[in-house]
Subunit: 153 residues, 2 copies
Amino acid sequence: MRRKSLNTATCPVARSLDVIGDWWTLLIVREAFKGASRFSEFQQGLGLAKNILSSRLRKMLADGILELRPAAAGGSHLEYHLTHKGIQLRLILIALRQWGEDNLFVSGEPMTTFVDSQTGQSLKRLRPIRQDGTEVGFRDLVTKLVVAGEGVD
Amino acid sequence: MRRKSLNTATCPVARSLDVIGDWWTLLIVREAFKGASRFSEFQQGLGLAKNILSSRLRKMLADGILELRPAAAGGSHLEYHLTHKGIQLRLILIALRQWGEDNLFVSGEPMTTFVDSQTGQSLKRLRPIRQDGTEVGFRDLVTKLVVAGEGVD
């Protein structure tokens, strides 16, 4: 991946891919949502080599996706927690999950799905919706150059 | 990435990551939506080495994300086109794009955004919505084991 060209790109997809780096980042986010906060918990959940996990966690701290906080239970060690920016990545996990649910399982296979912990309700499929609330087709989207921080429309 | 454990995983996120493989796949999908269909068009759009592009395109054909069709203009060559499964990947591009728009640009930077080609309207932020239409918080989602092809709830 050509880091330099991607992190200065005007395309937010390219920048996102540059920050997320490789899939381990998203799987680490997934583990954090499951409750992992210690190095050993991420390692057990992912079965990832220590040196690779260590470099991914360092990058995620530098990118502001994770932050270190003192252990909730007291003691001297620090725990990894998702920042607001990291929490927002869950939408990408939902999108990946729903595409997988729809396209990569045959009927009858065991599969995990997201449900609301409060009500047990499942999620609707994410759909691209215009500002007026109507759905737009995937083929009807085009890119437009704008200035960040200014609204389009 | 541990292929075997991911493509038989019950977690659709893991399977999706296994199929998408690396970020080039999504950037190839992005180029296809921009109108690329020939090898040379993908290569120009991405600046990717021929051998890497060639292996990614082969994998995407095998995975049913792209398909080969005779050139629209006639002639003997074949073009790469997105399948229905490939078109559905655009939602993941939208999710990546919106996260990037929100988190990776400082005010005033030039940035591309998606707009509806018909009306010029921008898209609403994708949000996780329960079946009853209400929004659920990212922290309130838990995974549940289900059987593919059967509804939850």
